[in-house]
Amino acid sequence: MKNRPELELVDAPQPSKKQLAVATEVVRAMVGGTIDRLDNEALLALVLGDDVAEAAILDEERAEADALSLALAGQGTHELAELAFALRHAALPRELDELTHERLLRGALHRKPERRVYWPLVSGMVALAAGVLLFLGSATLERTKREEAALSLQRLAPLVAATRIAPRSTEALFDRALAFELRGGESERVERIVASRASDYRANRFTRWGVK
């Protein structure tokens, strides 16, 4: 460094008290890291004699600052104004006016007790009711079907009776000319009767069901 005399503060002018104070501020801010770049520039500009570096203030920031100023004056809103009012309420909290307090108090005292709704119980009851309805519904449907079937059978009964094959003798199944053997041939006879009556039985059932 000593080889570069241009960097030495030779014959440097004595700073004024104000300049010293501001310079101290800048150094403190830089060390503490609690001041932003633009403000740092502004402080430096002040040391150099400028009015807080107007050039260092961006248009966007100025617009924000104006909005904040208006919000603090009660015109519009700004999130930092919320913080400012919170600080004010913490430093000097104001009294609640009597009328507002009375309104809040009466509101609470004359409020009807809130009926608590136990949703698990409600949903359980709804599910139970739905189950009962489903059961009753299906039972009713079943009964209706049975009743309808019975009714239709009742309506068909005369027709069925008219067309049903009546019980009769098995005589027609055998030729009178051919005499029966006294012994043997029983199975053949029984089978003939069974086959004939089974056919009758099916025919009657079909008639009753209305198939025919």
Partner: protein
């Protein structure tokens, strides 16, 4: 100072509170904590003060009777108690912590509703109704801080700590005046620690313009800037404070 950061001050009503800045270890070296003396009477002091005050004893007897009637369902008795203590709750507990008149009024209304519902469970502890109401109000305020996002001085964690202390005060039998003092002191300490964490020029701008409500022209003249530049400085100041409050000072209670 012991391992918990407490200073032994036997017989004293002062507590030393150490506030550690968020950026305590920036640049690899510790920044000093901010130490603050806080008035905090001991339980015995409170008890003796109360025992020596016959007016207070008579007040407590009357209040106990009211509380018993209110507990039995007498709404007029309950209204009388709330009429007496509601404004104090609003001013020293709710408004400073919630930072908005509208929110504080909502919180007070909710507190009243909760008290009407729960007063049947109230148990007289000899220190009056206020400490119990204070805990209820703080819990309501905590719920509101958690549910509504706003720019504010206090964070939910601050309220959690405050509720913890208020419950201890309830056990200690702290009376209304001391509770109120303690709450207002806590608000101011929080504010001061926030302002101490930012640049002094910024904190001066906030103190003059926001807290003392001086005119823009007056503050601009004090800071030696134009009015429009003051607006920018104040904007930067509040931004810096918001950032500082984001991490916040950690308050370690210091007591004998």
């Amino acid at each position: 100072m012991n391992s918990q950061g407490r200073v032994a001050t036997p017989g004293s009503s002062l507590r030393l509170v150490a506030e550690v800045p968020k950026d305590a270890n920036v640049y690899g070296r510790a920044r000093p904590s901010i130490l603050r003396l806080v008035h905090s009477p001991s339980t015995s002091e409170v008890a003796s003060a109360r025992a020596l005050d016959p007016v207070r004893i008579a007040e407590l007897a009357a209040e106990r009777e009211l509380a018993e009637r209110a507990k039995a369902g007498d709404r007029r008795a309950l209204a009388e108690l709330l009429r007496k203590y509601g404004p104090i709750l609003y001013r020293s507990v709710l408004l400073p912590r919630l930072g908005s008149e509208a929110m504080a009024q909502d919180a007070l209304a909710d507190t009243y509703v909760r008290v009407v519902e729960k007063f049947v469970h109230f148990e007289w502890r000899g220190c009056g109704v206020y400490p119990w109401l204070r805990v209820v109000a703080m819990r309501i305020a905590l719920d509101m801080l958690r549910s509504r996002k706003r720019e504010r001085l206090f964070e939910p964690d601050d309220l959690v700590r405050a509720i913890d202390m208020a419950e201890r005060d309830l056990d200690d039998g702290l009376d209304v005046r001391l509770c109120e003092e303690r709450d207002l002191e806590a608000s101011k300490a929080k504010l001061d620690s926030g302002l101490a964490a930012i640049n002094s020029r910024y904190s001066l701008a906030i103190r003059l313009r926001v807290l003392e409500e001086k005119s823009r022209e007056e503050v601009a003249a004090t800071l030696g800037v134009t009015v429009s530049t003051l607006d920018v400085v104040l904007h930067r100041a509040l931004k810096a404070l918001k950032k500082a409050l984001g991490g916040d000072a950690v308050e370690e209670e210091v007591s004998p």
